[in-house]
Each structure stands twice: as structure tokens, then as C-alpha cells.
Symmetry: C2
DNA sequence: TATTCAGTTGTAAACGTTTTCTAGACAAAG
DNA sequence: CTTTGTCTAGAAAACGTTTACAACTGAATA
């Protein structure tokens, strides 16, 4: 009934039509388009001709249903609105298509509920692998992926499951370069604005900062360790908190570039100048960082490397059925990019908030 | 063989398992989970209990295969790296899930080749509708969607096909407000940096600008109509071209916010101040616009409205099988948001480039 | 010339759903 | 008590592929 031309809709071109048109069986068509080497060249040519003439392409759903493989890679990020993630997505997609995969994106907006929905969607669409570039994942969600034998890759959070691998970013090196850079300029009072501390990666960046400070012989002031949320607004708010303090730092490091841009804005509103009044360093090196005013000194984390490593690991892990994963842990380098938001500290003698000073 | 527990893999929980567990037929399970009202309450309860206990969810591929509907909406954008698009994507996804759909994203990077791949992917995944938020689409790609009876929605480019509708943004109103604002401040020499002119929307924004200038009694100088490409780099380059001219405008309008940020950077590099030396207005009102230094005066185009209208139109069009589309054309409002990049023109008397002046 | 073997092609059985259609069950009406 | 009608559950046929397996071909060997 459905195939009848009576109902007005164009006749669906499926593998059967192609087979008929090329005068071969559907199995031969299938083998041809999947590049199975045993098909006769003459028949293959006929098939390709038919494919071309009928403008045929296979139905992904049917293909996925029978083969069990969707050729889909999931990518879960915390916030698509943070410019770091689109850049990551772009690179991830590039890497995925290079391997014949497509991507399904999920943005959690830091909400566990949304995360759950994302995970479920990934499961429903039967992704062949999933990169989880955010934290706050309930274990039971991951269990399901493990049960289905779907490889996963995380940032920073290690796991010893055979199909789970981790991308470990060398935060310490980059942050250390940043702290050293600031120390050499003469800064001794450095604040740090972290991301939401429930995120592993944010936690790690913060503790790396503390370590690096000690390494540089500098003491960390708890008042200057502010928890932000990786957004523009969060950066602004955090800086406002610092400005409300009686004692000011001379420099502030941020857990990501967006936060740094928010800080710049807070400083602008307070008529404070960067780097004259405060030095500022970001993290990520988003493309935009080159365009802030003044251009942002920041720690570069190559999202191209990140994306390529993630895809490579996923694909390698999904292919091997048994044993330890090949890519268990890959290291991602970071390094400081010095631009124009860092300079000499304004007032090396006093750390008093000028407004408080007046009061006294 | 596959179902045997011997092979070590966990037994797949499919609709059959649920049926067995609930002691009903698979048809009843299907009807229950699809909320068909005719199933007996007792049986339904048993089914839901089984679903819950087995942690079952349906296989999307199988579902899509038989029903012909993928519950997937395609969204093709020009460049995921431009912050306007992530914001759009976010809203689009929100609107889509609210209607029980998911989204498949394609980013063309302005390359026809990539666009073709995107379109093909959408077709292969059998999207139920596609929003094309970019231009440069070959007609033959669209034909295929039409042949498959898949509704489409475009920005700005009208079409009279029954399943194609268009989102028409009221550029003129916003741009006119911008020009008026500048004119009231005393600006008479206004430049415009467009997007790539092969894009309809860029073309429209540019011609709207010309019209609005005439409307304000201002003449447009061809030298100050620069073609950009909607990127940071493009904005910077365009502004550098303007600065190289003998005669300078006192204000510049940009086809999007990213361009404006690029312009700010070029000005910063040239040690020129905004708005003291130049007034600047952007377009889109990306969230970031509030955070540039100084904050950017820009024309707001609500991407929430855009996204919601797009999804609504798509869904409405896919449901009605015959006749004219319900949503043939929806209007999206724009309006000027005045922040701090616009001010009085510096030198109302002379438009000479200060450097050229010295030469003379 | 008969037999084996390798190499290809075609047939048919999956894959996990939705959905049409048939068959019961039960109530109301004759 | 039979007939008719109204529901609802279950059986089975799709959906468009892949792929195991059977069947065929022709060449090489005995």
C-alpha cells in the first residue's frame, strides 16, 4: 500500500530500488556501498551508477538498528554559551567526521537534571562513545553506559573501568607559568577566582594555584580565593567581592577566560585600569582573549588537542572488545600566552583598599 | 544466539523483556509507553512497573525506522564559533525539547562543501524539519528536502514552496534606531561594515543601512561601506582599512557584534578611544556585548524569539500534510540597546585623517 | 571427465519498534 | 437465549538495512 504511487508521495528510494535498477540483489548493493572488496567490479560499477542516478543514500536508522552501531559520538559540555565549548565542539566535530562519525551535543548548563536528560538521550540514540567534558555526573548514569559497553572519556576525573579513559590536562604547568610570570613582575598578592568547586577541573585548577604559589614562595590569602562559576556574570561578581575587601591583591588569576572578561568589566565599572591597577590572567585562551581590551594574558589549553585526543581514545576503545583500554590517559599541555593584562604591581608597599584608607 | 547469556554481555532489555516481565504482549507495552488511552489501567500499571524495574527505554532507531519520524530537528548555522549561534542553539534546543524533539547541529563555516555535507547528514538522519540559519545553499540540496516532504525554515530568504517558511527579521527598525541615535548625537559621517555579501541577511542589513541613512538626511560614502565577514578578524581588518583612508567617519555601524569587537580592537591598537574618537554600534546583542570595554551599544535581535518561532513553524508545518503552511512568515523585532560606545562626534568640522593632515 | 575448491552472488533471517487487523470478552438490545 | 455492537489485547506484518549461510559458477586438480 505504502509503496503504491497512488498516494501522491514520491516513491521512496531504498536499497531495493537500487538493486532493481542495477539488476543485482540488495545484498550486493549493501556490499558495494560498504566497500566490501569481494564484489565484482562490473556489478559494483552498475550499483554505483544506479546509486548516482537514483540519488540514493542509505537509511541511517535501519543501518544502526541492525548493526548496533550508530556512528554517533556524544559530546556533553557544561555550557554551550561559554566560548571555549563551541571551539571545542568545532574541533571535536572535525575529528569525528575525519573518522566517519557524527556528533550529538548535550549542554548541561550545570544542572544535574539536564545532565540526566542528556545522558539518556545519548543512550537512546545509541551513541558509540561519549565524551563528558563536565562534571556533576551521577554514578548511576555512567553505569548504564558501562552496561551497554559504551566507551567514555572524561576530563580530569580518573576511573579504572576498562572502557573509561581520562584526558588529563596539565593545569599545573600553565598555572605555574602564570604565577611565576606575575612573581617576576613583582606581584606578591595574587587572588584566584575558581570555577564552581563541585567541578573536578575547577577544584584541580584551584589547588594547582595554591601549590604554585607556595612553589614561588608566595603565601595564599584565603580571602582572595573566590569561588566563581565560569561565567561573565560570575567573574564580575567575584571581582566586586574582592574590591569590597579591605585588603586588595595586585593581581588576579581566573579559572577561565570568561571569568577574566567579567573581571575586566568589574574593573572598568570601578574605573580601575588593567594592567596599571590590577594584573589579570585568564585560562583557556579562547579566540576572543586576543580581542579583549587590553588583550588578555592567559593560559592556553589547546582544544584541538583535547578534541582529537578524545575522539581517538573513544574510537580506539570501542573497537577493542576485551582487556585494558589502549588510551587510558592522555596528557594535554598548557602554556602561558603573555599579552597585555599583566604589568608591574601598582603599589608594592600597601595592600590597603584606597577607599578604606580614606576612612581611617 | 545473540540473546543467549553465554556470550557474557548483559542481556539487552528490549520491549520483549518488558512484555514478558509484565505478562502482556509487546503491543500493549508499546501502547502503554506511547500513552495510547485505550489500555487497561491495571495492565498499564504492570507495564510501567516493569519498565521501571528493568530500567527500560525504547530504541530510537527502531522507533524511527518504523514510524518514519526521527523526532530530530536539524539546525544549520554558519559558524558555531560566532557567539550569536551558541546562544541561538541553546534557545533552539530548549524550544525543541519542549516539543519533544531533539536537535542535530551543523556548522557550515561558510563553505558550500561543508554545507552540502551538513544537508546530507540531515537527510540521512531523517530529520523531521530543518532550520537553515545561513545562506549559500545550493537549490539542489533543498530539492531533496522538498522531495522528502521535510519542512524548512530560513532567515530572510523567502520562498513560496508550501513546506518552506521564512523568519523575517526587522533589520530596518533596529538599524534605523541606530542611525537616528547617531544622527541625534551629531554624527553625519557614518561607516558600515557588512557581513559577507553573498549572505542574504548581510546584504539586507547593508541596504537597510543605506536606506536609513537617506531617511535621516545623511549621505552614504561608498568608501565607508566595507565588506567584512562577521568574524573578529574581519572586523579588525575592516576598521584598519577605514583608518587607512584619507577621510574618516566619526561613527561606524557593524553588521554583527563580533565585527564590532574586532573594530574595538583595531581602535585600541591604533590608540584611538571609543566613544571619544569613534562611536560604534553593533548588531545582535550577544551576551558578551554587555561586557566589552566599554560596553557595546548594539541592536538587539532576540535569538529566543528567533528559535522559538523557528521550532514552532517547523512543527506546525510538518504536521499538516496538505495546503499552505500555517506559518509562512513570522516577523522578529529588533531594537537598539544604548550602552557606552556611542557619544558625541569628536571633530564635527573636519573629517580628515589626522595623519594625512600632518602630511599636508 | 569427475571432483574439489575458491570466489561471488542471492536468499532470508535478524534488529526493536509501531500499527493494522483479527479475535475475544462483555454489555446491551432484540 | 441469540444477536449485535463496543472495547481491548494480542498476532503479525511492516520499516530498510546488514550479514550468515546456502547456492552457484568456473577453474584447477586428480
Amino acid at each position: 500500500m505504502k509503496r503504491s504511487p497512488k498516494d501522491g508521495t514520491a516513491p521512496r528510494i531504498d536499497i531495493r530500488s537500487v538493486a532493481q535498477h542495477a539488476r543485482v540483489s540488495i545484498a550486493t548493493v549493501s556490499r558495494t556501498i560498504n566497500h566490501v572488496p569481494t564484489v565484482d567490479a562490473t556489478l559494483a560499477a552498475r550499483v554505483w551508477k544506479a546509486v548516482d542516478e537514483l540519488n540514493y543514500f542509505p537509511n541511517t536508522q535501519a543501518r544502526a538498528l541492525v548493526s548496533g552501531k550508530s556512528k554517533l559520538l556524544g559530546l556533553i559540555v557544561s555550557e554551550i554559551t561559554n566560548p571555549f565549548f563551541p571551539e571545542l565542539i568545532q574541533e571535536f566535530e572535525l575529528a569525528a567526521v575525519a573518522h566517519g562519525y557524527e556528533i550529538l551535543i548535550g549542554s548541561t548548563n550545570y544542572e544535574p537534571k539536564t545532565m540526566e536528560l542528556c545522558a539518556r538521550r545519548m543512550l537512546e540514540r545509541k551513541v558509540d562513545g561519549v565524551a563528558i567534558m563536565t562534571f556533576g555526573v551521577e554514578e548511576f548514569l555512567l553505569d548504564r553506559f558501562t552496561a551497554e559497553d559504551i566507551p567514555m572519556i572524561f576530563m580530569d576525573v580518573p576511573s579504572k573501568h576498562p572502557k573509561r579513559s581520562t584526558l588529563s590536562v596539565d593545569y599545573r604547568a600553565g598555572i605555574n607559568e602564570g604565577v611565576q610570570h606575575l612573581a617576576v613582575l613583582g606581584h606578591r598578592r595574587i587572588a584566584f577566582i575558581s570555577g564552581p568547586l563541585k567541578l573536578w577541573s575547577a577544584e584541580i585548577r584551584r589547588s594547582s594555584f595554591s601549590d604554585c604559589m607556595r612553589l614561588a614562595g608566595l603565601s595564599v590569602n584565603e580571602d582572595w580565593l573566590i569561588e566563581g562559576d565560569h561565567t561573565l556574570d560570575g567573574g564580575r561578581d567575584a571581582m566586586q567581592k574582592i574590591l569590597a575587601l579591605d585588603h586588595w591583591p595586585t593581581a588576579v588569576m581566573c579559572s577561565n577566560d570568561l571569568t577574566a572578561i567579567g573581571v575586566q568589566h568589574a574593573l572598568f565599572e570601578a574605573s580601575l585600569k588593567v594592567p596599571d591597577d590590577f594584573s589579570l590572567v585568564g585560562f583557556d585562551d579562547v579566540h576572543l582573549a586576543e580581542y579583549t581590551i587590553p588583550p588578555l594574558t592567559t593560559v592556553r589549553m589547546s582544544c584541538k588537542d583535547l578534541a582529537q585526543a578524545a575522539v581517538a581514545s573513544l574510537i580506539s576503545n570501542m573497537h577493542q572488545t576485551e582487556g585494558k583500554p589502549q588510551h587510558d590517559r592522555t596528557n594535554i599541555q598548557t602554556r602561558l600566552i603573555v599579552r597585555q593584562t599583566t604589568g608591574l604591581p601598582k603599589d608594592a608597599l600597601s595592600d590597603l583598599n584606597p577607599k578604606s584608607k580614606k576612612k581611617k
